[in-house]
Every structure is written in C-alpha cells, then in structure tokens.
Amino acid sequence: MSEFASIDWLALTVFAPLLGAVASFLAPRMAPQIGFASLTVTALCVVMLAAQVIAGGPVIVSLGGWGAPLGLDLRADGLGIVMLGMTMLVGLFVSLGALDSFSAAREGEENARMRLYFWPLWLLLLSGLNGAYVSTDIFNLYVMIEVIALAAIGLTVLTGRLEAMRAGLEYMFASMLGALLFLMAVGLAYLQAGRLDFAGLAAHAGEPAMMLAFALMLVGLALKTALFPLHFWLPRAHASASAPASALLSGLVLKASLYILLRFWVEIFGPGSLIGLTVGLMGTGAVIWGSVQALRTQRLKLLVAWSTVAQIGLICVAFALADTIGAQTAWQGAVLLMVAHAVAKAAMFLAAGRIAQETGHDRIADLDRTHLRPTLAQFAFALAAISLIGLPPSAGFAGKWLLMEGAMRAGAWIWVVVAMAGTLFSVAYLSRPLIGFLRFDRAPDPVGEHHGWAIADAPPLMLAFIAAISGLAAVQIIGVLDIGAPFGPFP
C-alpha cells in the first residue's frame, strides 16, 4: 500500500484520460479499445484517490512544488470526490453504450467516423471535467472550461448532420461568449486581489471589483449551463447529437459549470441574499419555461432536452434555497440533486436513443401506434423518470427531502412552492411518453417486443437502476461530502 500512496492519483485523474485521448487519436482503428481501457484506468485512479480522501481527509498537491499563489494547487475534498465519482459512474456506462452504438457491426460511413472520433473527444472532455473538479485556481478553471467547451462542441456535431452542425455552431457562440465573460471576470479578480487562487480571492470577497467579477462569472456560467433565459442553445444541441454524446452533454458537461458556480458561491464569495435571489429567480423561470416547452414538444429527445432546462432550473432553485437556509445539509441536498440528475438524465438520453433506434422515429404521439416495443429501453426510461421526479428511494428524493426539511424550518415558503411546482411539472411532462409506452390498443399490428436484445440496452437500464436506488446510499454520499467541509460552517 505504501508504494501506492506515493503515486499522485490526483494528477493522474486528469492525465490518464489525456494520455488515453492521445493514444486513441494516434491509433484510430484501436480507438474503442484504447478509449475504454483508459476510461477504466481513470476510474481506478478516482477510486484510489477517493480511498485516500476518505481515509485521510482532503488531498492537496502543489504542482511543481511551488504552492499557491505562485504555482497551482490541485485539491480533492469531499465535494470534488463526489463530482469525480459521478463523472466516472456516468462516463463508464455511457462508454459501454458507445462501444455498442458505434460498433463496427453497424453500417454506414457516418458510423465509422463517429467510432474513430468519439473516443479522443470524450477522453479530452473527461480530462477537462476532472481537471475542473480538482482545481483551486480561477485561471486554471478558465482553461479547463475551454477544454470542456471545445470537446463538448465536437461531440455535439459528431453525427455530421446539418441540424447538428447548426445547433453546434449556436452552442459554440454561446459557449465562447460565456468563456469570454468568465475571462473578463478572472482579469477583474486579479486586478483586485493580485492572485488567482480561491483562498486568496476569498479574502477580498465583497470588494467592488469582486462583485462585478462574480456578476460576470454568473452570466458566463449561466450561458454554459443553459440557465434560463440563457438556455436558447440547449434543446437543439442536445436533441440533435448522437445518444451517447447527448448523455454526456446533458449529464456531465452542464454539471461542470454548475459545480464551478457552486464552488465560487460557497468558497469565495460566501452566501449573499442578492446572488441567491438572482439565481433563484432564473431557476424559477427555467422550471416554468422548460416544463411548458417539454409539455408542448412533439419529439422524445426534445422533451428530454427541455426537461434538462427545467431540472437545471430546479437545481439552481435548490442552490438559492440552500443559500437562504444557510445550513450544510441544504447544500448537500442540492449536490445530491445534481448527482441524481446526472445519472438519471444520462440514462434517459441513452434510453431515448435506443427507443428511436428500435422504433425508427421519436415522435411522442406515435409511440403508442408502433407495434415494436423496445421494452428494456422503455423500462429504463421509466426508472430514470422516477428518479428525476424524485420518488423514493432515489437520490433525487433524498436531496429534496433534505432541502424541504430545512426550508420549512427556515420558513422559505416561496422556494418550497417553486420546487414543488417543478416536481409536479416533471410528473406531467414525463408521463407523456410513459402513456405512449403503456398503451397497446392503438397499434395496427400485434405488438412485438423488438428486434432482440442489444448490449446498448444494458447501460441505460443499469444507470436508471442506480439512479432509482441511489437514495439508499445518500447517507454515505453525504458523509463523503462532509470531508474537508466544502460548505463551511456558515454563521
């Protein structure tokens, strides 16, 4: 064990996928094998790191031996570990799905190209995501954001279809604008504080330059995380990408900017009523608008994408709620919601992709008219819906429970109403496809199951299953979240 302890698992969580991406780009024919192998290695690194953190508290590595503020420190605390774990869990299952959906057995030139390029892009994305979760420096975060954004855009347009290209271009403009605003904020923060590490910046919170910096960052991150009213790019981008790419984009990429917002909020700027109110109001708008659009749309993938807009809004309302309550448990509840959404939404996009693949269309109105019923994918979709709605024993339920308990005690009734309304809305729009799955009287021919099982059915099912029972592990997740007190003892 001692020789393992000297290995820098923390840096390896960023470097392993990076080197894997290089290898899979160099040897395109072996890309799936290399890609999945390096993903497994990365997961191993995260597990070793998590073991270190759980055993001995937060791990900090001073790159180059300099130490902040001159050099860069990487740090893994409880929050970082939970985000890393979430990324690896979703990433592994989505990759398993990608192995099958881009497999050589499927035909088409388009598919061959996706098989070559999915892996380097996804591994580079993973490198950026992991880098963001262990960063303690805002400029370093900016660089990670750029890596994440470019790789995400690459994944969006991977299908090469015209509508994906258009959506990808829109996504790129939004994403670049967000990054530029973020960079401006980094400049302002450096002007004020003379350093870029979190600890150094926290000492200057509340000064005018820092206030403007936070406002700019908030807008930039809202653009990237598609928070209402800056969500315009999301539905088309997520609905037009291939199923594994959508799962990654919706499940993981958005969470990175949400995480950065959360980290800045609790570690640098501290709770403040104005921030909470702004984010809460934007979240409320997202819940209402996203739900209404999800209720109206005709396409299954668009419904899932619009539900992402609404759910991101709900998570932001949860942040605002935690800010109002000011208790550790409330923040932990909000993080639980984030994790639950990542797992369930990835499952849902994979399932929706499978349904579209098997039935040949993704029109919600015709789901009950088809005689082909991909039962496993539909079951996975339903399980994921249960978790998104927040029924027990999902982690979404545990998160909402923690939040509601605190909110009612603190008397934050407005946010309680919004969160409840969001839950009701999600029941409404998610039951639209479920009704289609369960009606058999409209099919012209005798209802058959499907063309046969595929390996691609397993990842959404397992992810959805994990999402549905993850509430049973809520106590353990909260225990990990306590390590290093990322949410601090607030006054």
Partner: protein, 313 residues
Amino acid sequence: MIDALVLFDLVLALAIIGIAAGVLILRDAFAMIVCFVIFGLLSALAWVRLAAPDVALAEAAIGTGVTGALLLKTLAHLRGRTLSPPLRVKGGLVVNAALCALVTLAGIGVFLATPIGGAGLEGLVAQNLAASGVAHPVTAVLLNFRAFDTLMEVVVLLVAVVAVWSMERGIARAPAPVMGEVYAGFARLVLPAAVIVGAYLLWIGAIAPGGAFQGGAVLAAVGLMLLITRAYTPLPAHRGAARIVFVIGTALFAAVALFVAQGGRATFEYPAAHAKSLILIIEAVVTISIAATLAALFHGREPVAVSVRETRA
C-alpha cells in the same frame, strides 16, 4: 517627451475604438476582415505600450495573423455571399447596447475604485525566478510555475484539431487562388526567413519576450504559405504523421510532468539541474505541435480521398 507619448496613446486608443466600431458597422465581409486585422495590429501596439511585449507578439501572430488567414479562408468558402443585410436599429439592438453600456460603465466604475498597481504576483515571481531554470519571467510562469495551465492550453489546440478532423467533410475544396509569379517568388524569399524568425522566437523565449506560442504561430505562417502556394498538398497518406505531430507536444509535456514526479518531487517539479533543458525541449516540441495544428486548422479538414458527393459539388 512624455506629452508626445500620452498623445500617441490617446490617438491609439481612439483608433482602436474607431476601428472596432468599423468592424461592426461595415457590411462587406472582406472589409470587415481587413478592419479586424488592423484592429489586431493596433491592439498589439497597445500591448507594447502597456509593457507587455509577450502579449503583443501573441496578439500579432495568433490573434491577427492566423485568425485573419482563417477568416479569409472562410470567406473564400462563402463564394460571393459576403454582404450582410444593412444594419437596422431595432428595439433589441437598443436594449443590447444599453445593457452593454451599463456593464461597461460598471467596469469603469470598478476600475476607478480599485487601487492601481496593487498587489500582484510579480514580486513572488522575481523571488523564485532563479529556481525556475529560465531568466524570462513570462516563460518561467508559463513553463514552470503554471506549467499545468500551459499544458491544458496546448490541449485546447489539440481538441480543436480533433474536432475539426472529426467533422463531416461536406464542404468542397476552395477554388485554387489565382496568384502570379510575384507571389511564388515572394514565398521563396519569405519562407526561409520565417522559419528562422520562428525558431529565434522560440529560443529567445528563455531570456526575453518570445516563446512556444509566438514561435509556433510564425512557423504556422510558413505552413499556411506552403498550403496556399500548393507547394505542399495534404494527402491521405500523410495522416499518420500529422496525427503524431499534433499530439507530440501534449504527449511529451504530460509525460515529462509525470516522469519528474519521483524521489519526493511533485508532478511538474523539474529537477533543478535539468530545469532549463527540460523546459527548452518541451517548448521546442510544443512549438512544432502548435505550428502544425494551426496550419491544419487553416486547411480545415482531414485529408481523405475525395468522396462522390464532393466531386459532384
């Protein structure tokens, strides 16, 4: 003397704002690009006046040179559809302008309220410069103190080229530019000089302004010239070599960072005796990757056998 410089700064600042407005107001894409390039050059001048020659070099080489070339290449693909509809002042535009003005005002207010020349990291960098292995503070920050940031910036370029290569190659090759003999002669004269300038920029980075990104951009210009003059045509058979060149900067940088982490040293902690040589090797290899990547981005596609669809187009 000081008055003359103040006057110069004032004129420069006004010119930058004017030309920026010009880019937005002009409706002809070619004129817009030309204005954008001038804007970049003036900004580079402004960076010089702000005593940031490294940024000025980067702005001139990448922000202006390579970006300008990319924009012109895109224009060539648009084939004549270069006139934007005339600018109309609408409600949305007014609201946007008002919001931007508010943010700018807030920025100015904040800037005035912030102590000028306050705390920075310059002192700390100067203190540790001797231990970094190089004598130029900017290079010390980029390749040693914050080497991780630089590695990930190189990764950004790698992501860009992977994404570009992954895209559907639905666009046909741009028509061959009509260029006379003067042009070819110009290329013959300039190319060797550009190679030397690029290498010099890289080398001088250890002690003076310059470095991998600036040197790489100048070398990328060599690649651009070769592509434009058709002295070099990317062929499908070259893809393997090209992939190696794209990734070698990232791969070597990351490998060194991990490899030095033994015997109690942290990741990225170069042994003091070898710091200078390691930094130079990394910079040299990264320069080659950057140059090749930028040139490949200009080419804009993976060189594959031309498909049926393209031949028809």
